[in-house]
Symmetry: none
Subunit: 218 residues, 4 copies
Amino acid sequence: MPASPLLPSLDSPHRRKGEQTAERILDAAEALFAERGYAGTSLRDVAARVELRIPSLYNHFPSKDALYAAVLARGIGPVLELLAGFAAAPSESRDAGAVIERVMAILRRHRNLPKLIQHETLAGGPRLTPMLREWIAPVFGRAGEMAETAPGAGRWAPEQLPLVVIAVYNVLVGFFTFAPLYQALNGDDLLTDARLDHQTRILREVVAALFPEVPIER
Amino acid sequence: MPASPLLPSLDSPHRRKGEQTAERILDAAEALFAERGYAGTSLRDVAARVELRIPSLYNHFPSKDALYAAVLARGIGPVLELLAGFAAAPSESRDAGAVIERVMAILRRHRNLPKLIQHETLAGGPRLTPMLREWIAPVFGRAGEMAETAPGAGRWAPEQLPLVVIAVYNVLVGFFTFAPLYQALNGDDLLTDARLDHQTRILREVVAALFPEVPIER
Amino acid sequence: MPASPLLPSLDSPHRRKGEQTAERILDAAEALFAERGYAGTSLRDVAARVELRIPSLYNHFPSKDALYAAVLARGIGPVLELLAGFAAAPSESRDAGAVIERVMAILRRHRNLPKLIQHETLAGGPRLTPMLREWIAPVFGRAGEMAETAPGAGRWAPEQLPLVVIAVYNVLVGFFTFAPLYQALNGDDLLTDARLDHQTRILREVVAALFPEVPIER
Amino acid sequence: MPASPLLPSLDSPHRRKGEQTAERILDAAEALFAERGYAGTSLRDVAARVELRIPSLYNHFPSKDALYAAVLARGIGPVLELLAGFAAAPSESRDAGAVIERVMAILRRHRNLPKLIQHETLAGGPRLTPMLREWIAPVFGRAGEMAETAPGAGRWAPEQLPLVVIAVYNVLVGFFTFAPLYQALNGDDLLTDARLDHQTRILREVVAALFPEVPIER
DNA sequence: GATGAATGAGGATTCATTCAT
DNA sequence: AATGAATGAATCCTCATTCAT
């Protein structure tokens, strides 16, 4: 029996179009939230970017906050999965180089993500905390533990280890967050493919320098 | 000769009190801008924090924008002077360790500064660009040049050098910007004196690892 | 073919109601701008008069300035068309009496118009100038030319003619602008139908006196 | 005995300077009120024009309203005296031409006055009414009476007479109020001495045309 | 007499949200 | 699903005024 027109099947054109719209809204919102932060982004801007009127946004997301959460979730999800996979792997088979490579690959396609996260980090605030408990906390907890059990960890005192992990994290994220300023200063775009390759290499070397004994595939 | 009543002397009570108030406004604004960014900070919040009514703010700063610029200028000034001094020093007498120490000392007293700068960096925007040309640009220009002529520069290809400098910069700034998130996750405050000592040490080691031949006083 | 729901037909209830509201806003604004001028009129007053909240005004006009411009355009349009028609008519068929009659008829229905124009005239300012070039300038230019080619023009030196035209204009407008003061002084309302008839007659006689040879139908 | 420094005589430099300041404030306020009306003029503007700070204005006038009233009084006084003198003169010795000449002379020196009055007229409102009763009312009352008893009055029906007087008044005032618009349109300044001579002449002719039997000295 | 600082009231405008269509 | 209209709350900012100096 074909789906009744009143109950459209999961991928009827209707539904597809609706999801497409939601996706377009997420895209627009992601770019704007990344550039201007939550407070600096108005639904008016988002709507204009999607070429919709504001109330239409409410057909897809129940509030600005929910839209923001959705943007964050969509962006952060893949990264967390990757990290979780890495953390879960047996310690011998962890290859730092591969993770760096794959994280960079994700960020290349989602260049807004680091800025988005950085905005949240700076706010350090209420909107973030709920998501933290669920997503970031375990990963960063694992990261510390990983580092502790990692071969090269001997170089750092236990209470220094989290700080070193944070340092690496900031080097990674920083390439993206610093890009617009760099461009304003020098005219160069740090986010071209060539530059991103450089950054990947630098990141590898930074990790190699900080954790001399961690295996890293060349 | 007594000061004419028409031209109040430089330290008339008026002036002194006014300057004090302006300073208090700057303090309040700095904290709020750092935490919530420009768009997320309302003059209402600032005024409440200084225990003034909103219009009084306008007796000291002509607009929110001007207040923001003043906050930025006051905060960034000393750091830039320090860096400029370092950049101007003859290359043999440059001691990376000393600079790290002194930058950290400044940031310890102005803990909002890195967040402030980070917000601006993320915005990458119009409010920043004018200041950039004047202040940051020459320093970062010098930083690149410094690194090139530095003994350890040989380790990096010329086009990689700016990226490495940026990496160090991000490690430094990142300790401060990541602090609130870290606290929300783990309950630990990264900005205690003990922790900041750790970070200083880590930063030195990062620099040592990245520029193995740069002299660094222990 | 039924109208698509995405493109509401020209007289959807939405549109009709919206236009009605816009018209009511224009009415209220016209009265207030006429009485108190631009600076003296607050959107709060306008909104109160239409029984709306202030932000609703922005659903119909993007700014106070735009509302003002719309008021002016709506009011001045018909008069200018009338004058343009008169100016375009062949000189023999021009009947000063008829124009006076018809201008008075318009102003009777739009009694705020003269005050509105007078406010603008006094400001002599930036808000006016753009509209002037487009609307008023050509008409007044024609007015001068008309007067020159008119039979009675011989009475006045060419450089006096514009001044005489202005004089007539001021007599006409003055009846309306002076009315509130007159009422405050004497208690009489100059804008009753009877009084307006008088004024029309006086205006005719003034024109007859100033241009003795211009044909004027009785 | 010379005036003690504690009790400065009426025209001590102290007092003189004070009065001078008040006069300068009046000048600035007159120009601004004339151009922008009461609501459109801020004390900030006035103070800036006198190169004082706002609170200093309050040393000379107790409120914005009082300043406005003072501007009006200072400007209108001479005109009213002139008219009063004319009205009081025995009817045979009245010479319309002389009055026109002298009113124009006053307005030439006080070009803001007509605009000022026109603003008030348009407001027709509360700020005006108190002054009206005292100043303008009697004069206009007399004007009507004068016109009635004047030789040429026979031309007009009694109830038309006030309207005719108003017409003349508007011709006179209109030259000044229309000037800025005219200048914006044509680039010509209507308030040059030559133009004002023309206007005086036109005004005489208008009066002559409207009151053919009124004596008017050539 | 002049002014810096402070402020209550109000200015225009934006924002996120709701609802009827 | 899309949108015009409406709105309470909040935005930045201006204004007239006061007061201590």
